[in-house]
Subunit: 334 residues, 4 copies
């Protein structure tokens, strides 16, 4: 099955990216949706003009590394033709200005490899790879999965997507030790929490373990040599704020980093209203759409099926979160 974008972009070769190149913000973006994206009848739900606009402002803000089609970026709900269309648009707009990692999580190894090949062809620099989730995978299977993808696409850098809720279990420290031996696996979007420091120490310089941006400062103070990059899901809300935090941390300016970290926490925390942290994750797509809309930089449009419903008590928090990011961004980009 060949991909449908026949006119391949004539860009320079993919960048060679190593763990050391992960320095700063790994910014995960949403996939802006057309007004009719919540309807099952819609065949093309990607809002390309908003996509272009978004990639431009992420470039302007100099977000260090860009990533597409994770969880809230709707890796699950885009059709494959839409994914290609969207990623092609990002590639064409980005023009290799920043390294770009495209999400290729599917229900099996071969589909992920197929998608990876097409998207590398289209011009992405690396892959953002979660694992099949119909059944949970054990350590051996997880390692083999990444080995297989690396074998199929030698030299193409991968960021492992370690999301225990989505993929039915955390990547264990032991599995990280094996993944760190695969040259292609250069980084991991980590879930944070108690395992963060342990996993960072375990893999050392061989892989860049990425904490969430709001957990970055603590990690950087504990492991300054290793915590040189973080992931953020709010670069499309407030790119300037994210980069200010990054600069403060990388400069070792703990005082300023603390102030910025607190501001980011203040913004993010608005989402967690309602009390049930366990259920919160189930609505992260719907919440993200409201959050980005309220932040005002990009019009994310409505969510795509089947992730459409959102209980009222999450709604306000999501909107408030976006508003806070908007307030911070206007403060910082002034």
């Amino acid at each position: 099955m060949k991909h449908f974008i026949t006119q391949l972009t004539q860009l320079q070769n993919p960048m060679k990216i190593t763990p050391a190149d992960f320095r700063g913000v790994f910014g995960i973006m949403p996939t802006p949706a057309t007004e009719d994206a919540s309807r099952w009848q819609t065949q093309q739900s990607v809002n390309l003009s908003e996509t272009e606009k978004m990639v431009r402002f992420l470039n302007t803000a100099k977000i260090d590394i860009l990533a597409t089609t994770g969880t809230f970026g709707e890796g699950a709900t885009l059709t494959w033709p839409e994914t290609q269309l969207f990623v092609d648009c990002v590639v064409q707009t980005n023009k290799r200005s920043r390294p770009l990692f495209a999400g290729v999580t599917t229900l099996n190894t071969r589909d992920t490899i197929e998608r990876a090949r097409v998207l590398v062809d289209i011009g992405v620099d690396g892959l953002f790879v979660g694992r099949p989730m119909w059944l949970a995978m054990d350590d051996k299977s997880i390692v083999r999965y990444y080995q297989d993808i690396a074998a199929a696409l030698p030299g193409v850098p991968m960021v492992a997507y370690d999301n225990p809720v989505a993929f039915k279990g955390k990547i264990s420290t032991e599995a990280y030790l094996e993944l760190a031996k695969i040259p292609e696996v250069v980084a991991s979007k980590h879930t944070g929490g108690p395992a963060l420091a342990k996993d960072m120490r375990a893999v050392g310089e061989k892989m860049r373990i990425l904490p969430l941006a709001t957990a970055w400062l603590a990690a950087a103070q504990e492991l300054p040599e290793l915590a040189l990059a973080a992931w953020s899901g709010s670069v499309a809300c407030a790119p300037t704020v994210n980069m200010a935090l990054s600069q403060a941390i990388l400069a070792g300016d703990w005082q300023r980093a603390k102030e910025l970290s607190e501001k980011c926490n203040w913004a993010e925390s608005a989402m967690f209203v309602g009390g049930d942290l366990a259920a919160f994750m189930d609505y992260s797509i719907q919440i993200a759409h409201l959050r980005f809309a309220a932040a005002g930089l990009v019009n994310p449009g409505p969510p795509r099926p089947p992730y459409l419903e959102l209980p009222d008590n999450y709604r306000d928090g999501a909107i408030e979160c976006g508003r806070r990011w908007k307030q911070l961004e206007s403060e910082f980009s002034a």
Copy 2:
């Protein structure tokens, strides 16, 4: 994206199937694999001659309703072209001899609808529909998901696939009450356990709730008017035994049903060696391949990536399970 099988089969129209038509065994089949199916390089992993052979013996045994591409039938690990090839082969062999439901579970509503349309075009009589599982879905989302599919394919019967481990949560009794109002949702492959009788009572005649075959007798004795069909994952191991159990239960011959139920339990139970029931489900694909191979009626070939690894302590149990089915089948088909 059009499907690649251009020469559509010229068969009679799809059967109209109601809950009352679910009487007997809903037999879920594996997807036989080629010898190289475990390699990520393999592009076409469906063993078509084994598929034909399998469908023929399921027809000969008069399994009441056939189903494809569930969990062990590798709905997750087949590529979409392979699914079409496989289902087309089943359709051509089955020749509408038995009603055929094809699994169309994907990561989102639109992909499932797209697959459903293509497979109905190819000639299946109904759909076997699990839900997207990247994020867990709440009751409202589950109901809307099935409503959307019904709206997209009016009149096409669906069997809901209620697998709490795979799809991150059971369909609640309240959600069943809503699903029962959708005419297209004619049945549900139920997970069994404490909710079985409750859910059966809740939906009554409006939907056929299918217990596992080994749990059928108890359900039939408790709710004889409602427990008129069951699902089985072992029809490709021992079709004759499955049908004998079905006949005994539907004839109300409890004594014979009890004997047969015990024999089936004896066979199935060999799988559960090793002690950790919670982990067992994670290996159901790998276990199924060993089980079908040992039963000897169909050559299932090796599993497909990423579900390849199997701890030793599950291996023996899986093989023993298949051997027991083989023994029973030879006893009954004599």
Copy 3:
């Protein structure tokens, strides 16, 4: 087994408490610990002078209803003699100034009833009742558990403790409907999230469903007749702030309630640093000790075994949370 506090307090009879009496803040308190409380050798780990001080300031602030020995109040880690000593101290200090509910969650029905009887004897007005958690309980078992306690202590009001993480599953809406028929079950500490509004509507006036204080405003705007009380785990951090929020909501002053709600969110949210919401709950005892200490009103002392370890990345957030409450409290109590 008789309790060891022989000289029973001579106080007026227990208050008769109905769902309608739940109006305002249900404030859950910690159990202050002695300096050596983390050692397994310690036999009496309750800091009684801090307990007195705490109850006095909660009284001064007029927290509507008081509760002891939940999760962070270390219902799990106190010995039974310590629980009696602590609750007796709270009773003697409180002097029925505010209704007092004591936590009596154990591993079985009879132990909970025994504890309940002794604590009612000591002088508590009601019971705060989680359920046995060695094995998960189904709906029927949950309902019977509360029925049994009500039968053993007729007329003693109970607040059901609905904590899905601690007690292995949420109380379902169907179970709530049954619990609402038990006159003794007057309220429930709810987990919040998607089920909150649904459960509130289901039980109506028959039981007071309590959202978390930071989720109260949204609930009050949606269901103003029903959302008349909320639970708070931060009354020992900032009682004045909690009461200010309560007054604004009960007065229907949405503008002021919004301001206050945001301030509370700002304080609470500092805890959620680190990224892994799923793991966060596992450390709620340790986090609470740091939080209360930083807030400065009560000296909670160190945590009790086995809940002693805390990963670094939760530590800072916990302390920051306490600091924010301190800042808010000094602002409001000025």
Copy 4:
């Protein structure tokens, strides 16, 4: 709080038990209940004459090591006075004929230590120790918990109880490596599954990892030097059969071991009817009562609150399981 059994038994000193002493069957027994044990009003629910009878036949069968008050032996639902009464009865009947391990799982470290001291005083030889389960414990906390108990009771052997469903998570291989350094932790009742061989290899001779009896043969064939003992929950159903299996495995008579293992599997497997393996564990207490009653050697009486309810579809399987054990036992003890 002192225990109420003042007249301590005059028996020889506790046996010194090492990992090497774990050879054969670690047999976990139920706690026989009086006819009124399901009522919350019952104060003394232990059937002492049945207890004596049971310990005598376990002695006659020469079950290698005895254990009390695990999950189905109702560690959760006995009151503390009942536990002492029951264990005292077992001790007095057993007369140090076989090493005896008593379950001391509670909600915290100090209660477990207190119980351990009293039960060692009463005359048990070792402790069977699960962990507090109100909140999940991480690796560090698990290790410290066992270290603390060992420090409080130096020289008293412990069997770690590794039940992921009950105690909210498996003991990791890394934690096992630390536990193996504690001389008192001589063995672990393992959950089986994929981690079994890995954990056995990790700890080697320093700790005896016990598989479930039905998984023992496979483990013994893979790791003959290490798999020298197993745990069984069916010694009170069919002690002779359990010992026959043990002798065959320890003699390396694989053929006979296979036959016996299959017979045991046939008996055990009857329980798993109903289809929902995930829910099965929640009912293990209720199922055990029916199973032991049907096996006929001991009268277990009814279950204790709150674990009283059992869906119909588990009932038949539980009874059938007991019947099969009865059939096997009569065959083997003839």
